[in-house]
């Protein structure tokens, strides 16, 4: 296999004309059967495979990806990582992910370029500052870092903000989470793929699941475009396509699929060294290492499986951006795209057994799946390996829609979903 990456290795390969690098992971042919089959080769699926091998010693694992790994939402998000949620269950989940991200480059021996540049959420009125204080208090009680910022502190962090008297959204103060940041999204997928592959996991690309094998009412594998593959346990981590797989398996989910779009500007010199979100506009942005502004906002309003954004939301996001930082009006947009996200009524994920025995699901991450990849993988691996919930994932079981014990982050946190 590819061997360890290190400064010494880089130097050696540099002297040898970089002729010694091997592919980072094996592109496998599917076998007839596995202990665990994971549908979906995005961040969550690959992380699940890695933690199955690393934490549970289960190596007869296949990750089935209908396209190429990391080509769905893992490659389409805005790379922000944060844990500024309201409810204890959510903070436990997302802060677990954040803690894993903090050690991920070392853990995977792969630089995921996690940059803890912090996130500023700007509030615009006394009432919004009270909401901000409520979220900060909740985060501190739930043992993650959060501070309330004054107007001066916000402007110290982001001097470019619109401070004009005629600003539609006045800067009143904000929320700061210093451990938040961004990571290289492709590297997260590739890093997990490389580490999982090194532990014996098969990564099978261009392998689309077309149906489930069901015997005696139990899922015992999948039909794919590359043949039948049997599995003792099957897991799905397919984000916006959860509903499609659920239809194949014969059940319905509390999930609606929407396009969530993002865009980048042309690259400019460093001007923004944090992640920035306005409560008022719902637009958020950060600056990539290449200098591009990476810009995102809310969901498109029309349910969609088309991986492209509609102009109305694009216009709203950009007009929000220009309200926040009028100087960015001079920039050109370089690219615009969309991913299909699985939105749940309470804006919290679903991790747990599906209604079809033998099939488990990890989905419903909606607009925030990237930040949760290490935790989603860890917890889903625990579920697939033991058949039991990890204590962090238990509240996120599908059962909550029957019992009514929702974790309503849509209403709870000061973040648009």
């Amino acid at each position: 296999m590819a061997g360890n990456y290190s400064a010494f290795r880089l130097l050696r390969e540099g002297l040898r004309g970089h002729s010694g690098w091997q592919p980072a992971w094996r592109d496998s042919e599917p076998k007839d059967s596995y202990q665990v089959v994971i549908i979906g080769g995005g961040g969550h699926g690959l992380a699940t495979a890695y933690y199955l091998a690393r934490n549970h010693g289960i190596r007869r694992v296949a990750v089935l990806e209908k396209g190429w790994i990391g080509g769905g939402n893992t490659g389409r998000n805005t790379t922000a990582i944060r844990s500024n949620y309201f409810y204890p269950e959510s903070v436990a989940l997302y802060d677990f992910a954040l803690r894993l991200y903090e050690g991920l480059s070392r853990e995977l021996n792969y630089n995921v370029m996690f940059s803890q540049r912090g996130i500023v959420v700007v509030a615009h009125s006394e009432a919004e500052m009270e909401m901000a204080a409520r979220v900060v208090n909740a985060m501190q009680i739930n043992n993650t870092d959060a501070e309330l910022l004054t107007r001066e502190q916000v402007l110290e962090k982001v001097p470019l903000l619109n401070q004009g008297k005629d600003a539609r959204f006045e800067i009143y103060g904000g929320i700061w989470q210093g451990r938040a940041g961004t990571a290289r999204h492709d590297a997260v997928a590739w890093g997990y793929a490389r580490a999982a592959s090194a532990l014996g996991v098969d990564i099978v690309q261009n392998c689309e699941v077309t149906g489930f094998l069901v015997e005696n009412g139990r899922c015992v594998g999948v039909e794919t475009s590359r043949g039948t593959i049997r599995a003792e346990v099957t897991g799905m981590a397919v984000a916006g396509h959860s509903g499609v797989l659920a239809s194949m398996a014969g059940f319905r989910l509390p999930i609606r699929s929407f396009a969530l779009q993002a865009m980048v500007s042309e690259p400019v010199k460093p001007c923004l060294d944090t992640v920035l979100l306005y409560m008022g506009t719902g637009t958020y942005l950060s600056q990539s290492d290449k200098g591009e502004l990476v810009i995102g906002g809310g969901l498109d309003r029309v349910l969609s499986y088309g991986q492209r954004g509609n102009p109305p939301m694009q216009e709203q996001v950009i007009s929000g951006l220009l309200e926040m930082v009028p100087a960015f009006g001079q920039l050109k947009l370089l690219r615009q795209w969309a991913g299909i996200v699985d939105v749940v009524p309470d804006s919290s994920p679903i991790i747990g057994p599906s209604p079809l025995p033998g099939l488990f699901m990890n989905g419903g991450w909606g607009t925030g799946g990237f930040k949760a990849i290490p935790a989603g993988g860890w917890l889903f691996a625990h579920l697939l390996a033991t058949g039991e919930h990890h204590e962090i994932s238990r509240p996120f079981d599908l059962e909550r829609f029957r019992t009514g014990r929702l974790i309503d982050e849509a209403a709870g946190s000061a973040i648009p979903h």
């Binding site: 239809s247 319905r252 509390p254 699929s257 309003r301 029309v302 349910l303 088309g306 509609n310 109305p312």
Partner: protein, 88 residues
């Protein structure tokens, strides 16, 4: 900007419309006899079709609900019609 055709007002910008839910869902009655499972299924269960889809939409401007058949990948609209007096 996509245009949807309100059966009452004609073609209008998509921003004037609001998604009301998938068509064909029937509220279980009487409530005293509805189990938690059935209620949850009615409240939250979604087919979330990839491809042709039958949906209830609201034209915010005129306040009328109507049925829209469209494709969730291509966004092509096949038909819109009033639900009044018809099965949704």
């Amino acid at each position: 900007m996509q245009c949807f055709t309100c059966p009452f007002c004609g073609p209008r910008d998509e921003t004037e419309f609001f998604y009301g839910g998938e068509a064909g869902k029937e509220r279980p009655e009487p409530s005293a006899e509805v189990t938690a499972e059935r209620w949850a299924e009615w409240l939250y269960g979604e087919t979330n079709s990839k491809g042709p889809s039958r949906e209830i939409w609201l034209h915010l401007t005129c306040g009328e609900f109507f049925l829209m058949e469209r494709h969730t990948v291509t966004h092509e609209v096949f038909a819109t019609r009033a639900t009044r007096g018809e099965e949704a």
